[in-house]
Symmetry: C2
Subunit: 588 residues, 2 copies
């Protein structure tokens, strides 16, 4: 090794010892004729002193050093002296009096501001990612990610799971998003797909008798990007045989408890809350509710069908819904100006408007109150449990719009009223419908994917009334973010065929797309189920980061480009030729 110690470990225990350290020069000060350098590596930093009375040449050499030069320094550990200690750093009691200095690699003037990532544009941060990642908080992010990954592997190994790698070059899968594809040179005209998830392969591993499988699986989706989406992400992917839904809940909860306890010293309460899809939509307008605060939505559709307020009534008459939320004790905060901001926000996110009332000692007040008779006002007050000082917001629109808008209003209220508890609040969303009616095409579609087992109790309705069939699908939600989802899977051809019939999926189409999975069911497929959990997002939320790129070493930008290596890039014609391909660019 080019060093005897790291920059994070020396204390007075090593006093007077000759040591060699390597690291980056992150700060340099001249003080009283001496030069002080903070030498940094992943493990911490150590103060180096160059004293001209000790080594004159060395002091002169140190004078010319620059920020981020990589140095090797040899010298003696000594006490900094009284009042010069820095109690905030592990090595704060000591410094190294330099005897030797080697510049292992010098740095040119830095192209970005190292210490203030917010001042650096996104693309520049990604282009100079090696500088960006030298910062302590980025180093900590990847350390947490590493520790979490290792912990998950140890936990699942202790539960008899085997990590088995599924292929990256696979057959195109019938999942939601677009596949990335890979042309085959040796099979001209044919393509592999990159996996959106190992779904089919992990099911086949269950049919193979592996009983319990997991993988920290690399998944790729050719989607248009958003803040929390990347072309590549990593999934905690697991599958178990001979289980019921509760077994997957228990295992996941225990795993999360282990992670949060060991990594964050945070004790999660088990079991996680369970909400049916229906209940979540009713109370929160979303199937990803943030349960760190209350503020439940109340449905007033029934009541408003009798109101004289034409805006509400006409919506209800056309099949729409009316929902309200009580921003408790917010009356004093909510000036007309603040309320107007909420109305504007509601319009920005898709509502036609946002009605409001204030509850006072004299009852409801506000410009629309007059359209509601006493009985209706009483009903509103009762249903929303309105107390003097509360502000009530109402939205009336198509069910989907109303729920979306009120979910956003609720979240904004939670934030601005400081209601969000500092906690990790997990919940399960259950009882999703198996089918969804597509009004445009007048046909049934799968709500989720093709492989989800219907619940035991509702399976009998598949042929008779698809709307009555629920599936074993469940979502895991943390602080309002979807962390993952799972289900029991279909393991019998007869059930799979009934479902395909409902959604009008032909035998031929099924055969082409995942016939190999259906065929495997013919030769002894155990009942099985599992879950996939977004690993990047989990780590990001653990670290209170809202962008998964903070925990991905080399993410892509919003155009799916990588500023560091300039990929994607053009191929040479002979490379295309070898792949039996030609470009087919549209003229613009």
């Amino acid at each position: 090794m080019l060093r005897t110690h790291t920059c994070g470990e020396l204390t007075l225990k090593q006093k007077s010892k000759q040591v060699t350290l390597c690291g980056w020069n992150i700060a340099q000060r001249n003080h009283g004729g001496l030069i002080f350098i903070d030498l940094k590596d992943r493990y911490g930093f150590t103060q180096i002193v160059f004293d001209p009375t000790h080594k004159k040449d060395l002091h002169a050499k140190a004078q010319k050093l620059g920020r981020e030069d990589v140095l090797q320094v040899t010298g003696k550990v000594r006490y900094r002296g009284k009042n010069l200690e820095n109690p905030n750093m592990a090595t704060g009691q000591i410094e190294i009096l330099a005897d030797e200095l080697t510049i292992l690699s010098s740095s040119e003037t830095l192209p970005i501001e190292m210490d203030d990532p917010d001042a650096v544009g996104d693309d520049l941060r990604l282009k100079y990612r090696y500088l960006d990642m030298r910062r302590q908080d980025m180093q900590n992010n990847f350390k947490t990610r590493h520790n979490t990954a290792q912990l998950i592997r140890q936990f699942l190994s202790s539960k008899n799971f085997l990590e088995i790698e599924t292929p990256l070059l696979i057959k195109s899968t019938p999942e939601g998003a677009r596949d990335y594809v890979v042309p085959s040179r040796v099979n001209p005209g044919k393509f592999y797909a990159l996996p959106q998830s190992p779904q089919i392969y992990k099911q086949i591993l269950m049919v193979s008798g592996f009983d319990r499988y997991f993988q920290l699986a690399r998944c790729l989706r050719d989607e248009d990007l958003r803040q929390d989406r990347q072309p590549e992400h990593t999934q905690i992917d697991l599958e178990m045989s001979f289980v019921e839904v509760n077994d997957i809940f228990n295992l996941t909860e225990e795993m999360m408890q282990e992670i949060f306890s060991k990594i964050l010293k945070n004790k999660l309460k088990l079991p996680f809350k369970k909400l049916s899809y229906k209940e979540a939509m009713e109370k929160y307008g979303t199937d990803k509710p943030d349960l760190r605060f209350n503020l439940e939505l109340k449905d007033l559709t029934q009541e408003m069908s009798h109101s004289d307020f034409s805006v509400f009534k006409s919506v209800v008459d056309k099949g729409g819904i009316v929902k309200a939320i009580n921003a408790e004790k917010s009356g004093e905060l909510f000036s007309r100006k603040v309320i107007d901001k909420y109305v504007k926000y509601a319009q920005d996110v898709g509502a036609k408007g946002l009605a409001w009332m204030k509850m006072t000692d004299n009852g409801l007040e506000g410009s629309i109150v007059k359209f509601f008779n006493d009985k209706l006002q009483k009903q509103i007050i009762q249903k929303l449990n309105a107390q003097p000082g509360d502000v009530l917001f109402f939205c009336a629109d198509k069910p989907k719009t109303t729920n979306e808008v009120m979910n956003k209003i609720r979240k904004r209220l939670g934030k601005e009223l400081n209601l969000i508890k500092d906690e990790f609040n997990f919940c399960w969303i259950t009882d999703f419908p198996l089918f969804e009616w597509n009004e445009d095409d007048k046909r049934w579609e799968m709500s989720h994917h093709m492989f989800c087992m219907p619940t035991q109790e509702t399976m009998k309705f598949i042929e008779e009334d698809p709307s009555k069939v629920f599936c074993t699908q469940f979502d895991l939600v943390l602080n309002g973010e979807e962390m993952g989802s799972g289900s029991l899977r279909i393991n019998r051809t007869d059930i799979q065929e009934k479902i395909m019939k409902v959604i009008g999926f032909s035998q031929k189409e099924a055969e082409e797309r995942f016939g190999y999975l259906l065929e495997s069911f013919k030769y002894g497929a155990p009942p099985h189920g599992g879950i996939g959990i977004g690993f990047d997002r989990l780590v990001a939320l653990m670290l209170d980061l809202n962008d998964i790129r903070e925990v991905i070493a080399f993410p892509k930008n919003k155009n799916a480009q990588s500023p560091i290596d300039n990929s994607p890039s053009e191929l040479k014609t002979d490379q295309l030729d070898e792949l039996s391909l030609k470009l087919n660019l549209k003229k613009k």
Copy 2:
């Protein structure tokens, strides 16, 4: 859970207990009016008894069961009875008297013979991989692979390595084989490459200050396939900052010792033997020598330049070499017929012929002996340490051919003379030349890759005489198989530029292909080095398997196709269109 226990855990401890097991029916016997079933899962198997005097209907139902049906059986644990115990199985003392039986999934007639993989063609094994992998030896392979992977992760974590995922969608790299490429939909006409290894990214992680990185990295190469190559493989990939070559040796050796000790209870001797490239080529004709047996090659080129044997002399005159091997004490085994087989084999693998002599009490014998005078015969005897009863083989050809042939002859002798010790014999091959002269193009090429640091002592020859420059590259060899290779990397632009000049690599070309790595060197790149070790091959060798497909769940066949899912497959025209591509198939 659908079971109370697994099929591998019940003993007399659970006697009289009511239990529920799930598993596959792998064998069924009628005996004395009873039906016995071996119920199997990943953990073992358990004998189930159906007794018509206990449950008549159940016995009738059991009669109709088939091989590989998935069953759930409830019943009482009981002692099998004296003389009926099976000491070879963990559950061999007990059986379950069945009270209930549920067929969870029944199996049709199996399309392959489950118990004899050799009788099943390769493609059929891959097509019905879920049946193939149900076999106990396959299950054990993946268990060993899992345990080895977890152990590596724990070991490296304990040494301060962080596992960091590098991207799968990257820029085309300048390595040996062809890249698989991925068209970008949102960047029409542009392509990502899939990584052949994380080489450049792991170096950038060192520039990022992560100090120690590892990954069990998925690597993809579009090569024409051989037995030990797959389009996808997994590499134990690691990189360290501030190290010398010995640090990488020590770490790797300690890791291997840990793996072999914990997984195989096999104690490896450290340090591993080290051979220079030159020495390996001289003694074994290969840089992947199998050191489990001796049989060193001897170079007789010098001596043969004075011989009257025109075959040898003319080869030497034309710059060829003569090498010999002493198949010690093999005289009795080596009839004329056996020797002829070796001659034929040498010709099959590229030699013009294979000369031979036998050492007897009367000195050398054989048809060519007469061409060598007494002095030369003495030299041969001495150099090969020939004793009565030994057989000597000679090959004369161009250096490359001679070495290749004699390596193969040596390996065959080792096998057929039963000289190969039952051990894991690791060695390091070191001191590779940095450059290689390309005789056809009359120019210098890199022997390995662009990023390999020259040795300190020979760096000064780069400009003056490239042939004198050695690199820090080293290979890890196990039992004659290359397991991996590593080196210190160049971390300074000035050295990189000198090397590029020697091989005539233009600044522009360098810029295009890996300019981002070179640019990172400008901003403080620490000295660093690392190694990549083939994980599939390691696990295969640990299990004494000669085909890595035995430890890969879903490998491709020799045509890079996956018989299980029929990938690669054709895309629809609109999918191609969306990717701005057209097929360009050659007419045949």
